[in-house]
Amino acid sequence: MITDRIVKIVFGIISYLLVTIILLIVGFLILSGLDDINLEFLTSFPRNSMTEGGIWPAILGTAYFLSIALLFSVPVGILAAVYLSEYSKENRLQRLVLTANNILAGIPSVVFGMFGLSLFSITFGFGTSIIAGGLTLGIMSLPYVISNTHESLVAVPKSYREASMALGANKAETTFMIVIPASSSRILTGVIIAIGRIIGETAPLLFTGAAFYITRNPSGPFEPAMALPTHIFVLSAIYPDNVTPQLEGSISVLLIIVVALFMSVAIRRRRESRKMEG
């Protein structure tokens, strides 16, 4: 049993070391930008060639891009997952849809960006706009929403469905009034994970929707917007060294959002698993 102890200790040390390194990097990046964050930084426009002011339009723009993305991927994703778990038997079509979804999930984000550019910006004529960028991110997040929702729906016990059907409800009623509500909390967790995955996406937005600078917030979905990750790239790419505080602040804000998102996922999961055991 001594080998077990040694393996446990050595593997444990390595695991903790990795986690420590990761936490150090994240913590360091958050902390080094923390003193640049204040109310003005969060609520004002960049000024004086990005050396002053804040990142308000980038925060708002990220929210716009995410809204369009979710407006697309959440309804479509939930419906497609419903098809997979409730309506399809183990047939060819189901296999095809599952395969398509897996392939979509594996496609590099930069390829989604090119597709968005080619379809939304050029073919549909949306140009560089919130809608082109948002839909691109929406398509990227679709496989995440489908897989997570599919998993949540499958986890609903069969007895729920049988009871509902026994009471005379048809398939649609059972699905939308019993099964989905029963798994809504898990579905939401899945959506939060999807947000966490796409909120930091830079390359697709650079091709389809990101303005480097705007003087006022966009008034509609056909205008370009700034976004946090692209702002970070732009600051580190085309501005001189004097924007460093802005850059560090932006990185810090984005990381805090990501950490908060995943923390909420962890808390929600914990609650769910307790409920299951409970």
Binding site: F11, P75, V76, A105, G106, S118, I122, I146, L255, F262
Partner: protein, 291 residues
């Protein structure tokens, strides 16, 4: 609408939504390939794939992607060498040796890691790792932006995949097999290496394939810190320009519908094919596992 109609309507609705995923997938292939193949109107297949000279913006432009491809291979290979063993160790610790609390905490951090925006890791590598590498190996490192730097940062992104998926594979092994081995007096360690890992090998392979797919497609990290030289690397300290870096670095300023534009789309097709092969292989493995 009657109840029956609604029932029928929702059946149609969910089927359409499901079919939409296939439509999107075909759309992606269609748009990339239809733009990508146009490059072969100007450039021969051989010059595109077998030439190392990538000079897309000159009067006498050249569009050979071999050096870019070698960059992708080098960065991916080194990242795998770093992250697979470490991911494996953490997965084993999580699956078999950790208490519930430890498990939840470590798992949370690894999940969070998967969400770190790559542009952030890119700027970290640019500013810090690059300097540390030059100070650590002053004789060998002639530039701080190189394969090793990119691989270190990519490992941070890839490790969580390996940890999560390998742990899942280990946990998927039936409990009775593990218990039988333990009952026979074997300790945990030998049970692990004689029973669990061999039993989980197709799941582990599946994890490695999916993780590799992620690494190949990563963009911002390699754009910012892989070094950007279109050369065939001789050592891990050489700078390279992987496929994704070329797309991201040049797409923003390329003239629409030019040969350069089509060449970048063809690179997109190459990436698409790589990820298609990886995903389908992984799915085959998984199906074989279930049987």
């Amino acid at each position: 609408m009657s109840r029956k109609r609604i029932d029928l309507f929702s059946r149609v609705l969910v089927t359409v939504a499901a079919l939409l995923t296939m439509v999107i997938l075909f759309g992606i292939f269609f748009f990339l390939i239809s733009d990508g193949v146009k490059v072969f109107g100007k450039i021969s297949l051989k010059d595109f794939f077998l030439s190392t000279r990538w000079y897309p913006t000159y009067e006498d432009a050249e569009f050979g992607i071999l050096a870019l491809l070698s960059g992708t291979l080098a960065v991916t290979g080194l990242t795998l060498l770093i992250s697979i063993p470490l991911g494996f160790i953490s997965a084993i610790f999580l699956a078999e040796f950790s208490s519930r609390k430890t498990h939840d905490f470590l798992k949370y951090v690894f999940e969070l890691t998967a969400g770190i925006p790559s542009v952030v890791l890119g700027s970290f590598g640019l500013k810090y790792i690059s300097r540390w590498l030059m100070e650590l190996f002053p004789m060998k490192v002639w530039t701080g932006l190189n394969i090793l730097n990119a691989s270190l940062m990519l490992s941070v992104l890839a490790m969580p995949y390996f940890v999560t998926l390998i742990e899942d594979a280990l946990k998927a092994v039936p409990v009775d097999q593990k218990e039988a081995s333990l009952a026979l007096g074997a300790n945990m360690t030998s049970t692990l290496f004689r029973v669990l890992i061999p039993q989980a090998r197709s799941g582990i392979l599946n994890a490695i394939i999916l993780g590799t797919n992620r690494i190949v497609g990563e963009t911002m990290v390699v754009l910012m810190i892989a070094g950007g030289a279109t050369m065939i690397p001789q050592s891990i300290f050489d700078p390279v320009r992987p496929l994704t870096a070329a797309i991201a670095g040049e797409m923003g300023e390329v003239e629409l519908a030019s040969t350069h534009y089509f060449a970048l789309f063809m690179i997109g097709v190459v990436l698409l094919m790589i990820s298609l092969i990886f995903t389908v292989t992984a799915m085959r493995l998984k199906r074989g596992m279930r049987r």
